[in-house]
Amino acid sequence: MISQIFILSSKGDHLIYKDFRGESGGDAVGVFYEKVTALTGDQPPVVMSHKGLHFVHVRQGGLYWVATTTADSSPFTIIEFLNRLSALVKDYCGSLSEKSVQMNFALIYELLDEAVDYGYIQTTSSDVLKNFIQTEAVSSRPFSLFDLSNVGLFGAETQQSKVAPSSAATRPIQSSREQGGKSEIFVDVIERMSVVIGSNGMLMKADVEGEIRVKCYLPNCSEMRIGLNEEFSIGKSQLRGYGAAVRVDEVSFHQMVRLDEFDSHRILRLCPSQGEQMVMQYQLSDDLPSAPPFRLFPTIERDSGGRLLMYLKLRCDLPPKSAAINVAATIPVPKGSLSLSQELSSPDQSAELKPQSRAVVWKIPRFTGGMQLSALFKLEVPGLSSASLLEVGPVGLSFELPKLTATGLQIRFLRLSPVQPGPSQRWVRVP
């Protein structure tokens, strides 16, 4: 049971406030924000209490989504609902930001009104809700795929012109009525990978959490079939086909996915409703089928002037045809580091010392397979001791790999029925 729901910007502006039960009263929003600002860290705990009022919140899109509730309600339900609510808002408004919420507040009130009654969750299915929601979304800028041709994406026109940026899917699901309807469907395979490599270069831990997401703008789509690699296998025992199998440990599917063809042909059948859905989630831990895409060779020493020298060599082990984009390496540095001087191997890279998070961030916009980049950082650290070297590391890397997955999972085809009229265009999206 939910008493109130409110959305706050990170600066504490009231964006949305709805009181469902009129019981708690008072200035709950103020109390919540006071509690958030009273904390030193930037990450307030998920549950906070104040005089019998319990706040549960999630952070999405830089906003606080807060529900007040009673002590005995299920945290799983409330957190899932808040996440679902933010996903709905994202579907309906196109994107999730302070601006989009502010511009679409009438729509969000309408959504809340239909989704929750008297503190009880009624429905969050976009199929049901679309019959009730009347307000049109206001999107900050109308998006058209044709804009892409004049944007030189990451400087590689030949290949990139076929790749739509991640913003391609940030448009409201219902605006199609107005714009004459652009029937689009986006299928994303997104993998989050965490790899720990020991100082001796040994792979200590590797985890991949992946998901297939479908974002559907088709007004009338009765059935869709997604074909995965035929050699896709689940668990350790099962092996299919010859050669390198694509293997994951655990898979879970959305409840609407029908799996009658999954066992034989690895085909998922589903009737997507408008908006974004997580069709499939999977996990793989420990033995990856391919080597991790990057190797880092660090050398760290002190020079005679008491400065800290970090020489980093980063090698991209991808096949030469593919490339990683938006690579960022975060290198923790000793406390009290003052200034950074850098030598980077090409002008498009950049590096910056962030004293707040005590780290050097090295950014590489595009990194082709087989290449090797190096960087030399000199840090001014007052009172540098040999023990300070312990504070350097571990290095974190974040990157996007278009058209490549760590598990090797691929989408063979996507078929829709009834067949959509007009020519269809295929796009590959950058995650």
Binding site: D13, H14, L15, G22, G30, G41, Q43, V46, V47, S49, R59, D72, S73, S74, P75, F76, T77, I79, E80, F81, L82, N83, A106, Y109, E110, D117, Y118, Y120, I121, Q122, T123, S125, N131, F132, Q134, T135, R192, S194, V196, M204, K205, D207, E209, E211, E250, S252, F253, Q281, Q283, S285, T330, P332, S385, S386, A387, S388, L390, E391, P394, G396
Partner: protein, 809 residues
């Protein structure tokens, strides 16, 4: 939030709303209303526009209607009279052919929350229950709950309740679930909706039709159901098995909650269910939403209390991600500490070591504390890491390390050598008071082994004038006193200066009083001082030796799937003792150091003028039961290791000497009827025992079976020349008391002459009691043998137990 120019905005908007040109233009009208709502949600008081907004309500534009209703529902309570005007429009809308308009009107009618409007609302609500559109019925059903809460004192309309019960069979699943919700609220005083067998089976059969929110609600309501037979129970369980491993965490959690409440009488089934949810819970731990990950982690901690080995193989899943927020990292470390075993300890410590230099100071400290906890079982490796961290010379890390070392030494005294060695020189980096207190405690207790201790203390004493922390000053006093006892030559001068300062110049009463106390104590002579100050160096409980036993599921089942596990302070953070360890341990007895030689004559006084824990009558019993003037004393103190050695040795000796027939010690067993004792909290038991100078060394947690307490004391009779040591065990197995013959058989060798007397006494006791009473078995070992003292002790113990138990009951 104050909003400048609020009044100006209101005036401007009022002008626009009453402008006929705007009213005639659909789009402009709607946009003006949008502006009103926007200002309202930003916190500007818009109640002045109520009458204009009421007019705007009468429109065919559904979007505008919705907007106006948002406004009206927020401000209706401020303008009850004007709200009457809305009712007409709303009632008209309830007749609208469009079901969406009908449900909208009905919902907002009930959302106005005005008791004065109830009479107008009842009729449309009743009609709404029979509406052909499901969306109207959904709203109408909940509307009755809202109406009931508006006028909680009024009679419950039986006809409505019946209608709601019949709507449980509605074809629309949301209507069914809403009926459950409404009935729960309306019948709150009767304990909620009646959950009988037909309703339960109906709900279970329709579970699959509901969406996840509906399923959670149904599963929650079903927790009240008690199956009539075991077969029915297992039918329900197998029906719900698929939900237990549902990919949706809310359903999984609700189902597990239901399982635990249905199987409360069958621990084995509950444990099997916990094993089954391991997979889904771990998947939730890897969820994309970090709040969901956090929730799953907190609940995994609950599960681990009952099955410590549940996640052992999956420890890598609890390694912290690089960008995870601090609250997740800290929980993960708490889980990791529980999962440590011989195979993974190296890996785990390596990982934890990496977190010690985290940017977030709290995370770093949590990692250090976690290493300290692992150090209780793997002290060498952990001390190596901790000592290495001191080399970083960072104040927050050093402080956490010193505190961790203090806590570790308190539990594992064998680490003290390494710790003493590591302490040298770390006082320079310590900044915060917690860390300095820990350092002072260590220097005081192990001063004779840290060569630089007097110099370190001298620096502190020289700076005492500018010292702001009360805790540091108190700790400094005690540490200097302790050091004076073992290294008087080096310390005497500075102790004098410190006492002088604290007595003459210090403004804080606590510090001054403590200094005066020590000053007077020194007047009593060095031996007396030593007695008072040199207390324990280690944890008096056998916690580490016994280990933490698995708790029964029932201990936490009620808090599963509530906000409780997610709260900050709810998890037992055993190691976070921020003062000196002995203070936190002896909380119930603040003057532990001074009252070590209480004799029995004072007990009566303590009892009668005490804190009301013991009634006067029990004090009388106590006084009369002690025939001979017997006094108990805790000195000399007995360490847990010593206790364990004696206890086991005597056990072995007993077996041998039984044949020999001569012994210098005696052991006896006795049953005491005090049924509620095993449910009483360790603190109150310990406090009560300490009142009569019996030291408890180790407990099992309350509610666990078998329940044990180990204790010891020294007795001395006034007419006896020497004192005797008594070790004791209280055991409660939860079974019927064993028959007297069994006892006699097992114990007759040692009990000897007075055993027969006891036998008779016990039989007398049992005769008066009704047979089914639970009994606590008391096993005592005395050395050297002194029957009179043993009997005296037993009667004191019995009285204490009876007093406690009667107070519980």
């Amino acid at each position: 939030m104050p909003y400048l120019g609020g009044e100006e905005t209101v005036r401007e908007l009022r002008r626009a709303l009453s402008n006929p040109n705007v009213q005639s233009d659909q789009l402009r009208y709607r946009n003006t209303i949008l502006k009103v709502i926007r200002a309202m949600s930003q916190g500007v008081d818009m109640s002045g526009l109520f009458s204009e907004m009421v007019k705007a309500c009468a429109t065919v534009d559904v979007v505008q209607k919705k907007l106006v209703y948002v406004f009206l529902c927020s401000y209706a309570a401020l303008n009850p009279e004007l709200s009457l005007l809305v009712i007409n429009t709303l009632r008209k809308d309830c007749q609208d052919p469009n079901p969406m308009v009908r449900s909208l009107a009905l919902r907002n009618m009930t959302n106005l929350r005005l008791p004065s409007l109830v009479e107008y609302v009842e009729q449309p609500l009743a009609a709404g229950l029979r509406d052909r559109a499901a969306c109207v019925r959904r709203v109408a059903v909940l509307g009755w709950a809202k109406l009931h809460n508006l006028q909680a004192s009024s009679e419950i309309d039986a006809a409505v309740v019946n209608e709601l019960y019949s709507l449980l069979r509605d074809p629309d699943p949301v209507v069914m679930v809403n009926c459950l919700r409404a009935l729960e609220e309306i019948l709150k005083d009767e304990g909620g909706v009646a959950i009988n067998k037909p309703i339960t089976h109906h709900l279970l059969n329709r579970l699959k039709e509901c969406d996840i929110w509906g399923q959670c609600q149904v599963l929650r309501v079903l927790q009240r159901y008690r199956p009539q037979s075991e077969d029915e129970l297992f039918d329900i369980l197998s029906l719900l098995d698929a939900s237990l491993v549902s990919p949706h965490p809310p359903i999984m959690a609700a189902t597990l909650s239901l399982f635990l409440s249905l199987c409360s009488g069958q621990p084995a089934v509950s444990l099997a269910a916990l094993e089954r949810v391991r997979g889904p819970l771990l998947a939730a731990c890897g969820s994309g939403s970090r709040e969901m990950r956090f929730t799953a982690l907190c609940h995994i901690q609950l599960l681990l209390r009952s099955i410590p080995g549940l996640m052992g193989a999956h420890y890598k899943r609890f390694f912290c991600g690089y960008a995870e927020p601090a609250y997740i990292k800290q929980r993960k470390m708490q889980v990791l500490v529980e999962l440590v075993n011989d195979e993974n300890v190296a890996m785990l410590l390596d990982e934890l070591k990496g977190y010690c230099t985290d940017v977030n100071a709290e995370t770093a400290q949590a990692a250090i504390t976690a290493i300290g906890r692992i150090g209780r079982s793997y002290s060498d490796r952990c001390l190596e890491i901790l000592t290495g961290l001191l080399g970083l010379k960072q104040d927050h890390i050093t402080s956490a390390v010193v505190q961790t070392m203090r806590d570790l030494v308190w539990v594992c005294p064998q680490c003290s050598d390494t710790v003493c060695f590591a302490l040298e020189g770390c006082e320079e980096t310590l900044q915060d008071s917690q860390g300095r207190q820990a350092l002072l405690w260590l220097l005081g207790v192990y001063g004779e082994r840290v060569s630089s201790a007097p110099y370190t203390l001298e620096v502190f004493i020289d700076g005492v004038r500018s010292e702001a922390s009360l805790g540091v000053k108190m700790e400094l006093l005690t540490a200097t006193m302790r050091l004076f006892l073992c290294r008087p030559a080096e310390t005497q001068d500075m102790l004098g200066r410190l006492l002088h300062y604290c007595i003459e110049e210090e403004t804080d009463m606590c510090v001054r009083d403590q200094a005066l106390l020590y000053y007077r104590l020194l007047h009593c002579g060095i031996e007396e001082t030593r007695k008072v100050l040199q207390g324990r160096r280690s944890d008096p409980s056998l916690g580490v030796l016994i280990g933490r036993p698995a708790e029964p599921v029932s201990q936490w089942a009620r808090s599963f799937n509530t906000l409780e596990p997610l709260r900050q302070g709810s998890i037992e953070t055993e190691s976070v003792s921020r003062g000196s360890p002995e203070h936190t341990m002896f909380d119930p007895k603040p003057n532990a150091d001074l009252s070590n030689t209480l004799d029995c004559s004072r007990i009566e006084k303590v009892h009668s003028d005490g804190d009301g824990r013991c009634s006067d009558s029990s004090a009388d019993i106590l006084a009369s039961s002690v025939a001979a003037p017997l006094s108990l004393s805790l000195f000399p103190a007995l360490s847990p290791e010593e206790f364990e050695r004696l206890w086991l040795q005597q056990l072995a000796l007993h077996a041998e000497q039984e044949e020999a027939g001569k012994e210098d010690f005696v052991w006896m067993e006795e049953c005491v009827r005090c049924p509620t004792i095993p449910r009483c909290s360790p603190q109150s038991l310990q406090a009560a025992m300490q009142l009569v100078n019996i030291q408890t060394l180790a407990f099992t947690p309350p509610q666990t079976l078998p329940w044990r307490v180990y204790l010891y004391t020294h007795t001395c009779l006034d007419d006896a020349p020497h004192s005797t040591l008594i070790l004791g065990e209280l055991l409660y197995t939860g079974e019927e008391p064993q028959k007297a013959e069994v006892h006699k058989g097992s114990a007759d060798g040692g009990v000897g002459a007075e055993g027969i007397e006891d036998e008779q006494a016990r039989q007398g006791m049992e005769a008066t009691a009704d047979g089914g009473q639970e009994a606590v078995k008391v096993t005592l070992r005395q050395q050297p043998r002194d029957d009179k003292a043993l009997k005296g002790f037993l009667s004191i113990l019995t009285t204490v137990l009876h007093t406690l138990s009667s107070e519980r009951a």
